[in-house]
């Protein structure tokens, strides 16, 4: 483990590769069809798997009619409860990095917990044959009379939220009850977020292949190390016998963080048949079996004085979870630290429903909780007849009161000022419906954006090669965020070797273990490891160069720097590649493992932002649209402004989905009937408003040597509240349940 110095007062280095708009180094592969996503391969002798799913939500599978399916052309085998391999469950432990999406093994018992649960797995010689045979499998069930598929049916809409309290989720500072009771101004409101599905473009896919006792699985995964560890546990195999490869991922947004059961079925079938098996879930199955952002109900109570000072905040959350896998979305947790309030209480309840396991979805928990809190603050501002931005300013959190720690770096005030100014917030008329433009009524709304800044342990390896190129390898993934490119920028920064000469390898569990691509932590985690690995390799290069007869013989090691791919000491220098060639060495490598230190106990780390939204409501044709979004983000140093801005804009687009369109809808039998991309509405190009993002670029050196925090989640936060607040400003209607559909707007 290498040590790093972290110093908030350090001088900004002059950087050459970091902070530059750099087109993606994997761009040409993606633009020519050359990038290999999981299913983009046909292995010799390959077969095709096709899952069969339950058509009831709760009960028992009492029998399967398989004869017709088995007699279909091309069928090789059908796997199910009675013939599946005996395996062990993964311990499903996040800290041990073997967490899975659904801990239950495929076909483990005959109990049906949710509609869409796997009941059989057909394998055939072609995709067409597997699909055709899957439709001939007949299942017999004993259906439970009682099933629960919607949390809202338990809710009276007032007072306490339904469900069981999660003791570990309850946190508080001060005495929120007493402070609320004594407050001059009070607000007590309920909010909800509909279930959202990730709806990733690339369906989950596995291609499993055994060579003797060694398993290689190509998977669309945000965490090859987690999946490798889980499979090792499940199959009782040493880690080195399992390789999970995920060179390119057609996005994940959380749905591919943790392995789902299709991968286990695919691996078992491949072992049993002695042939590779490719499984690609259907778009419909994606909505049945690969997680979602759970529906949440929330209650916010705020007590304030007449000046807008927050005296008390209660935020209670409640989310759906599944008998097939517990997921606590902790929607209220971030409210403990968003604003200066000395009396705060946050709780979360869970309700088990007959759906597949929920999982993390982009800004999990916080995106939902932020919606409720930031909408409640807008309502409070209206009650106080105060500008909503001014209300927030008056309650800026100078420190993180929830843990009594200073912020590592917090430029939220600058975000508010910058975004408000660019948006033209001063032109806002607070009277609903007062701003008109032709047939349209204009509404302005805003919200604060935020997401925790995290860092994990990470390994990385670099290798200087005798052809002048540099290898960088890390067992993390690039899910489209640009990790390949920023890893190359980092190595280039630390060696002077041009980005074009750097060969980055990611998405392979056999590489030094790297982090999940999730939680906005990959950048802050991976870059220091790459930098440390460079230092390790450079030390070896120095030994070679200063050896007897070497080009830098007798030079003090400390006097040697690496610049432009050369080792330089005073007026002597040698190109690294030439040094290797002279010594007939093909490659000199260095490996490092880095980890966060004690700074977590000394500072609180968060990213901040402000988002302002203009909506337009045309009452003549009942059309609501978002016309303009302005956001300013404080996420530490920006490594690649080109990809960073894109990612924030993408988060905003998904936030618009949450605000305007996205809702997974279930029939009374627990079937998500809008399980496709025509009926589950996501934003398309024609829905796009004008989007203007600014990234502040203030390095946070307490988190890592580059001062980078992370960008994946924060863009999405705040957007739903800002839209809802703007809708109120336009229409005078307060929509507290996302999405703001036309139906809700017309009936409000």
């Amino acid at each position: 483990m290498t040590t790093e110095t972290r110093n908030p007062q350090r001088q900004d280095e002059t950087l050459n590769s970091i902070g530059i708009k750099k087109p993606r180094i994997d761009g040409i592969l993606k633009l020519t069809g050359g990038a290999d996503y999981a299913a983009d391969r046909n292995l010799p002798n390959q077969t095709y798997g096709y899952p069969v799913t339950s058509t009831i939500a709760s009960g028992e599978l009492t029998g399967l009619d398989l004869e017709e399916a088995l007699n279909m052309p091309g069928v090789l085998d059908i796997f199910h409860h009675d013939n599946f391999d005996r395996l062990s469950r993964s311990p499903n432990d996040f800290a041990a990095e073997n967490k899975v999406g659904e801990p239950r093994l495929p076909f483990e018992d005959n109990t049906i917990y949710y509609q869409g649960q796997y009941i059989a797995f057909v394998v055939a010689d072609t995709f067409e044959h597997a699909r055709a045979a899957s439709r001939k499998v007949r299942a017999h069930y004993r259906k439970n009379d009682e099933q629960l598929t919607d949390i809202a049916t338990l809710d009276s809409g007032e007072g306490e939220l339904p469900g069981e309290d999660v003791p570990g989720d309850a946190s508080s500072i001060g005495d929120a009850d007493t402070a609320y009771a004594g407050a001059a101004v009070k607000l007590d409101q309920r909010y909800s977020i509909a279930q959202e599905n990730h709806s990733v473009m690339e369906m989950h896919a596995s291609v499993a292949h055994w060579e003797n006792d060694r398993l290689t699985i190509y998977e669309s995964s945000q965490g090859v190390v987690f999946q490798r560890n889980a499979l090792s546990n499940i199959f009782g195999m040493p880690l080195e016998k399992v390789t999970v490869i995920s060179h390119f991922i057609g996005s994940g947004f959380g749905s591919k963080l943790f392995m789902w059961p299709h991968a286990v079925m695919t691996a078992v079938a491949a072992r049993r048949l002695g042939r590779p098996v490719k499984t690609v879930l259907t778009r419909q199955q994606e909505y049945l079996n690969t997680g979602y952002r759970p529906k949440s109900l929330q209650r916010v109570r705020i007590g304030a004085d007449q000046s807008g000072k927050l005296l008390s905040l209660h935020h209670d959350g409640c989310n759906e979870t599944s008998p097939a896998g517990l997921h606590d979305d902790t929607v209220s947790a971030s409210s403990m630290k968003m604003y200066h309030c000395e009396n705060v209480s946050a709780t979360n309840h869970l309700v088990t429903v007959n759906k597949c396991a929920p999982t993390s979805m982009r800004a999990p928990g916080e995106a939902s909780g932020n919606f409720a809190l930031e909408t409640a603050l807008d309502e409070l501002a209206i009650q106080l007849e105060m500008d909503p931005l001014e209300l927030r300013r008056r309650n800026f959190a100078e420190t993180d009161l929830s843990v009594q720690l200073p912020w590592s770096s917090n430029h939220l005030k600058e975000c508010w000022d910058n975004a408000a100014s660019r948006f033209g917030w001063d032109k806002r008329n607070p009277t609903p419906g007062a701003m008109k433009d032709g047939d349209e009524i204009v509404g302005y709304g805003m919200a604060t954006q935020s997401w925790e800044a995290m860092r994990q342990h990470c390994g990385a390896r670099v290798g200087f090669r005798d052809d002048g190129t540099l290898l960088v390898a890390c067992g993390t993934q690039d899910i489209g965020t640009g990790t390949y490119t920023i890893a190359a920028q980092t190595a280039s920064e630390r060696t002077g070797i041009p980005v074009e000469m750097i060969d980055v390898r990611l998405g392979d569990s056999s590489l030094p273990a790297g982090p999940l691509s999730g939680g906005s932590m990959a950048t802050a985690t991976v870059l220091p490891a790459v930098s440390a690995a460079v230092r390790e390799a450079v030390e070896k290069l120095k030994e070679l160069a200063t050896a007897e007869g070497g080009p830098l013989e007798n030079a003090e090691s400390d006097s040697i720097e690496i610049k432009d791919g050369r080792l330089v000491s005073g007026d002597r220098s040698i190109e690294v590649a030439e040094l290797l060639r002279q010594n007939r060495v093909g490659m000199i490598d260095g490996e490092a493992h880095t980890a966060p230190g004690d700074e977590k106990n000394q500072y609180s780390f968060r990213s901040w932002g402000a988002v302002f939204v203009e909506v337009r409501w045309d009452p003549g044709i009942s059309r609501l649209r978002v016309a303009r979004v302005v956001s300013t983000i404080d996420a530490g140093r920006i490594i690649n402004p080109l990809t960073a801005r894109n990612q924030i804009e993408g988060g905003i687009v998904m936030g618009l989905g949450m605000a305007m369109f996205e809702e997974t809808e279930y029939d009374p039998h627990g079937y998500p009937y809008n399980n496709n991309l025509a009926d589950y509405i996501v934003p398309v190009n024609a829905d796009m408003p004008q989007v203007e993002v600014e990234l502040l670029n203030h390095p946070d050196y307490l988190l890592n040597e580059f001062g980078a925090r992370g960008l994946g989640e924060i863009g999405l936060t705040g957007v739903a509240a800002a839209v809802s607040n703007a809708v109120y400003n336009a229409t005078g209607k307060r929509i507290r349940d996302m999405p703001v559909s036309i139906e809700k707007l017309l009936s409000a």
Binding site: R272, G480, E649, M654, L677
Partner: protein
């Protein structure tokens, strides 16, 4: 309670010790083969003689038989645009076409886009613009976006203003939300390909 397996053939319900013969099993459990037909497809200027079942979809044939993986499956229902290819220069969803009905037409996939437009060396202007404008993130919808974009640019009925282009590109979902950059890239490529038109 274990399920009752009705009318089971018993084949495939192996205990671990009974698996030894699986590798030698010639093909399917049933031994049945399905009716196939012989077709010739012209893809990226090359002719391919293929055996396909009548229900084989062009998208699956491109990927699973011709190893042309640049064309992606995103929904299999004509809802997302990820599988967009050109058939006789028109952009179409390859997931909605039966392979056996595509004889005698020119099919172009992302692998052949540049060459089909006369850029035998290097890349199509749309590809270059997508790189420069970072008009993608994960890259999965990107081939479809570019196949649509290149057809849209060549379509004289679609104007080059923002509203017209956004509408014309809306059959292609990008869940990463790179729409702003996609529009910028398409406008840039359109300017280069059509000049002031």
């Amino acid at each position: 309670m274990a399920p009752v397996i009705r009318h089971s053939t018993g084949v495939g319900f192996c205990t671990p010790g009974a698996q030894a013969d699986i590798a030698e099993r010639p093909s399917a459990v049933s031994g049945k083969t399905s009716e196939t037909r012989r077709i010739t497809l012209t893809v990226n200027g090359q002719q391919h003689d293929l055996q396909v079942t009548p229900n084989a979809i062009l998208l699956d044939v491109l990927r699973e038989q011709l190893n042309l993986f640049g064309t992606k499956k995103g929904c299999d229902h004509g809802q997302c645009g990820a599988c967009t290819v050109h058939v006789n220069g028109q952009s179409v969803n390859s997931c909605l076409l039966l392979a056996c009905m595509q004889e005698g037409v020119d099919i172009v996939t992302i692998e052949g886009l540049a060459e089909s437009a006369g850029f035998e060396q290097g890349h199509h202007p749309v590809q270059e613009a997508f790189l420069e404008h970072d008009a993608y993130q994960c890259g999965y919808c990107t081939a479809g976006q570019m196949m649509t974009a290149s057809a849209v640019i060549n379509d004289d009925t679609i104007d080059g203003d923002e509203v017209s282009l956004r509408e014309a590109l809306s059959g292609n979902i990008c869940r990463c939300g790179a729409y702003k950059n996609i529009l910028d890239a398409v406008q840039s490529a359109r300017g280069k390909m059509r000049g002031g038109q």
